[in-house]
Structure formats: C-alpha cells, structure tokens
Symmetry: C2
Subunit: 405 residues, 2 copies
Amino acid sequence: MSRINAQRLMADLRSLAEFGKFGTGVDRISFSPADLEARAWLLSRMREAGLDAAIDSVGNVRGVTKNASRAVVIGSHTDSVPKGGWLDGAMGVVYGLEIARSRLESGRAARLGVDVVSFQDEEGSYFPCLGSRSFCGELTEEDLGRTRTATGESIREAIARAGYAGGAPWCLDRARHVAFLEAHIEQGPRLEAEKSRIGVVTGIVGIRRLKITSAGQADHAGTTPMTMRKDAVRPLLELGHRVHAEFPGLSSLDTVWNIGSLLIQPGAANVVPSSAEMILEWRDTSVEKLDQIEATLMSWISDLNRQPGVELTSTPIARIRPTLMAEPLQTAIEASARAERARLMRMPSGAGHDAMVVGHHLPAGMIFIPSIGGRSHDIVEDTSEEDIVLGCEVMAGVVDGLEAV
Amino acid sequence: MSRINAQRLMADLRSLAEFGKFGTGVDRISFSPADLEARAWLLSRMREAGLDAAIDSVGNVRGVTKNASRAVVIGSHTDSVPKGGWLDGAMGVVYGLEIARSRLESGRAARLGVDVVSFQDEEGSYFPCLGSRSFCGELTEEDLGRTRTATGESIREAIARAGYAGGAPWCLDRARHVAFLEAHIEQGPRLEAEKSRIGVVTGIVGIRRLKITSAGQADHAGTTPMTMRKDAVRPLLELGHRVHAEFPGLSSLDTVWNIGSLLIQPGAANVVPSSAEMILEWRDTSVEKLDQIEATLMSWISDLNRQPGVELTSTPIARIRPTLMAEPLQTAIEASARAERARLMRMPSGAGHDAMVVGHHLPAGMIFIPSIGGRSHDIVEDTSEEDIVLGCEVMAGVVDGLEAV
C-alpha cells in the first residue's frame, strides 16, 4: 500500500513547472517574476494541505505541521538556473509537500510532523544557498548587501521588491527538528549506468580549487634557443599531465578532479608564452583525501620550481568543506529502498545542495534519483515518472521509520 | 684602412630613423605616410650617391650601379612592424647604400657593382616579403588583391595610392646579379651570449605549424566520475608534455619548437572541457629533421587516439621550407670577419627575411650582428655603433672578395 498519492505528486510537480516554463524546462531564477509567482502558488498549496504556511524574511516558503512537537524538515529549492530543468530542486520540495499532506491524511503527522521548505536562491543568482544559510543562522547582514552582477540589485533590495521584508525569519529549531531530508535528481550518469534507481548519498563533496600561475618571458619562438627560454606553459603541461597520470593512484573511486581552464599570454603560435594560468579543482567527501592531494600537488609544484626558468605560484580560489550525511539516515534510506525492492547504491554528491549547509547543523540525509542521460542544468533534464514516484515512496518510508527515534 | 665611411653610414641610419620616429624606435608600416616619405628620402640619397635609382611597381626602392655589367644585390627592407625598432631591415638597406657609394668613390664599382634595394613590405602588413617576391617573379595577380585586415585596402589599391602604379617592376637579372647579401640584426640572444660580433647565417629555418584539435564532452566536473568523462584537455596535456620532454632527444641544437596557444572550451573550472585546440610549431634548417619530427608527432597522436575517449585530429596550418645560404658566401663572410679580427659564429636564422625568398633564386648570404638583450620588434631594439660599423666593414670585404668570382 502506497504511503503517498502518486497522481497528486505528479500533478503538483507539473503545475509548478508552468511557472517560468521554458520549452521542456523552466527559467525561474530566484526573485524573478516567475519565481515569486511559484512561491505564491506553493504557499497556497501548503495551506490547502493544512500546513501552517508562510514566506519568511528571505523568501523561504515553509509549511509547518501543526499539532506536532517534533518534525522532519523536508525540502529543497524552487529557483532554477537560467534555462534549467523542471525537477532540479522543485522535486525535493514537492516530495516534502506530498509526504506532509499524506501524513496529515493518515493521522501519522501527530507522531512526527513534516515541515516543508523551499529554500531561497540555492542556485546562487544572488548568493548560493541563501535560504538554507538563513535557516541555519549563517546569514550575515553583510551577505544581504551582496548584489547580482547582471542587474546590480542587492539581496536586501530584491527582498523588499518581492514584499518579503515584513516576514519573520524561519529558523532551525533544535527542540523540534530531528532531521533534514532532501531528495534531488542525481545530475550525473552513475545511477543510470549502474541501473540503480535510488542513490543513498554518503556526503556532499568538499571542493578545493587552485589557481596555478606560471611566470615566463615572451621571446621570439624562432630566434631564441630552447636553452635560453623561460616558457610559462611548459611546466604547466608537465604538472597537468602528472595530475591526470598520477591522481588515479592517489584517490578513491569517488574522487574527481578537473583542469578546466588554462590561459596563455600572449597566446601566439610564434611567441614563447610569457605567462600562463591553470585552474585545477578536486572534490572528495574525505577531508583527509582532499588534504593529501593538496600536499602532493604542493610537492610537485616545489619539484617544478627547482627546474631552471620555472616560476610557479599557487593560490587557493575555493575551499568548500565536505558535508557528511548522517549515517543512521543513510541506513534508514537504504532500508526503505530495500522495502520497495529498489536497486540502490551509495554515492557521494559531486554537486552542492541545501543539505550541504543544513548538514552541519542537523542530521541530514539525501536521496538521489536517476537523471536521464546524466543531464541537468539544461531544459533536457528529465527523470521517468516511475523513478520520481519511487523516490517519494522511499522518502515517506524513511519518515515512518523516524517516528520511533 | 676602412672600406666604408662609418660616419656617413651612421648619419644615414639616424636620418632614416626620423621617418615614423616613435620613441627610440619607428612606426613605419609599409605604405603608411612615414614609409612613403622614407622611400622618397632613400631614392634621393641613392641618386646623390650616383646610383640609377627608382621606385618600382610594388614600391621596391632600388639603386643600380651604372657602368657595371655584374653586380651584387645588397639590401633588406625599410618598412617596420608597428612600434618597431630602428635597425630591423633599415640597417641592411643602408649597408647596401654605403657599400655601393664607397665602391663608386674608390673606383671598384666598375669591377663589380652593387645594386641596392629596399624591398617592400617584408613585415607583411599586406603580404610578407611582397617586394622580394616581386623581384623573384613569385608574385601573382591574385597576390596583389590581398587586403590588409585592419583597413580592407588591397595591395593594388595601396600601390595606386602611393603613386607607384606607373613604375616598372625591378626584376632579378641572372646575367647581371651574382649574389644577394643581406645584413640584419640577429633578433635573438645568441651572439650576445656567445660574445660573438658576427653571425654567419647557415640558413633560414623552415617552419611547420600544426593545429591539434581535441574533441571531448562537456560534463559537470563534480558529478561525472573520472571513468565516464571525455576530457578534451587531458590528451593535449600529455602530448604537450611529451613534446617538451622528448623533443630535445630528437632535435639538433638549432631546432626550436613552441606551444604558444592552447584554447579550451568552455573554459570553466567546474566543467569538463568539451573541446580544445593546441598550436605547436617547430623550426629547423633541415627538411629531414622537420620531417622526422612531424612523423614522430603523428605517431604520438596515433598512440593517444588509441586511448578510450581520445579524439585528436591534426591540421597543418603553416609549412615554410628552409632556405640554405650559399656555402661559398658563408665561407666568404667568415673570411672577411676573420680579417677584421671579429669573433664570429655560424648560426641559423630562426626568423624570416627577404633572403628566404631570394635564396631560392640567387646565391644568398646573410650576416647577423648582435641585438642588445636579444630584443627586437620593439622600440627598445638596439645594437652598439661599433657592431653596426663592423658588420658593414665585413660585408664590404665580402663584396671585394666577390670581384674575382
């Protein structure tokens, strides 16, 4: 017997996708007219479900289960990247709505409530995870002054424009909130490739990003003998090759890395490069692994700097700590998936989510469901209806299991 | 006893540097007002010297020794790169003027004349070595239709604007012309580093330039496992590193190579590169060496293409044959330098010159003199007065030696 109403779940998801509809996807960046309309719609759907709903002082839409002393927070975000997909974020919010509603109907809400939330601006049009940071008390007055590059509007101005300035901030309540659950599309190809339907997220990877700058000297590439050159690109080619050749031996199967940018000055075929700049990032859920890779890189850079004519400097440009998902919640998700006879796998999340913020304040669990072709942040993003419904069933089962905790 | 008038040589060089003067250098691109004025000045100086002078149909300024049945052609170019140096090209032309003039004064001109030339547009504002190509009969009607990117003006239009359209083309005369001599600043650091004052050019290097394109697939650099990526940059890092690591073992001391350009799409730190394009060039005076390197590169590219997910293609984008300088002229330059007790070295020219064109039609010899700090194509370009005068003496000695040939 189903814990949720699959038809109602899909109908709500499809209704939500009408706001900012763009082809098969949505263009619903935070604080855009489409985003504000979607929030108003969500607010009314929460009220229709019998939740105590409001939009808070940063634009978080929250629907609290009344007459429950303890609650699981379930949600994600309803803002999108420009020309994004219909499920990224939205699905996790509608799961929360459907599970809260079903529990009110079945009478289980009194044992353990569900507080549903759509966190504001997860995608960071103004500031990534704005809403979940506010929920966790991490947002500063200074943060509210941050401006959106394209328009110059600050977060504070956007809030005022939206009419949210009068709202109370909705904050984490340690006495009430026992856990945070977020479901999300995988945004990668692993579940599909492994024919798994449920991903039990072990953690959200930490990210280290290093800019490596190489100083050389521009010279005529015809008239300057090789031994008299100071070629800024040569050591970066060596370093980049070494990264791809030796990182597999240093890393776990879940570690990923990328050399996505290498800029060369002056960039002409017949001029010895005078300077170059490479950006290298690596991600892992283990701080030890992140540290070990960084130490290895530093030793390689030192090795290179001992070669004549090599002058490399490195600057960290991003350093995001990993967020581990609560082990009991991973076990609970796994148990619920098994009860649904769903093939599952444990996996890290390589991308950021609101659970990355909330997980440092409250036990957090994340469920991934397959992305068709691994695609996301694009209007082609999609997931089969069966997988969407299954994910919600699994999460509803997890909430049932938490009643006894 | 000096064969030339050093004071007059330096005075002419300094007068010429006034045309298009730009700081300590000159901005005298071909067919610019400054270039046209410099040509008019040169024409009158040739006539004052007693030469049969004219500006030909492409703008070459030539001064022919009258009453001589055989002549050495001596010259270079008076056009410059934008904001270039005062000696690049100009020096080789004024050497010709001074040697022709001195030989007329000493009466040696009757035994062997000197035909002085300033070839048009060596630097290629419209078409590299335009003037020497015309002199050698290599210029086509189609070439005259070539346009300068910045202005859209064709060579034919520039010639008409300059008033040169009525002139006769000045062409190589096999019955009269016994050799071509060109002196030039080295444009590199080797003479200075070796404390040599005369470079005996063995040849002008051939250039091979290859564009290597790599096809990949853009993916999220956090959510796509390493084994499921098709990273366009990885194989180019491997290839580029291999080039710098293994070319020294494949090449002669004179071989040079450069990876001056590597463009990555989309070029974001967190996106797996979808495509990349590297430009690699190598230069040598030996066709065999150029071929051997190309074959090796092709085998490395084939090796890489056997790796899963690698898709490299290579396209030749430049293929310039080497030009060997005539061995007897190299010997003659060496003998003349030794007579002047000048420390000398044999060396290839890594840059192109008019001798690169003329050398395929007439025995050609080139003399390099030191560039201070190896600098050129910049207003800081300079050479000591002693080295400038010495170079002209050495060349005058070579011409004396050719009387008997």
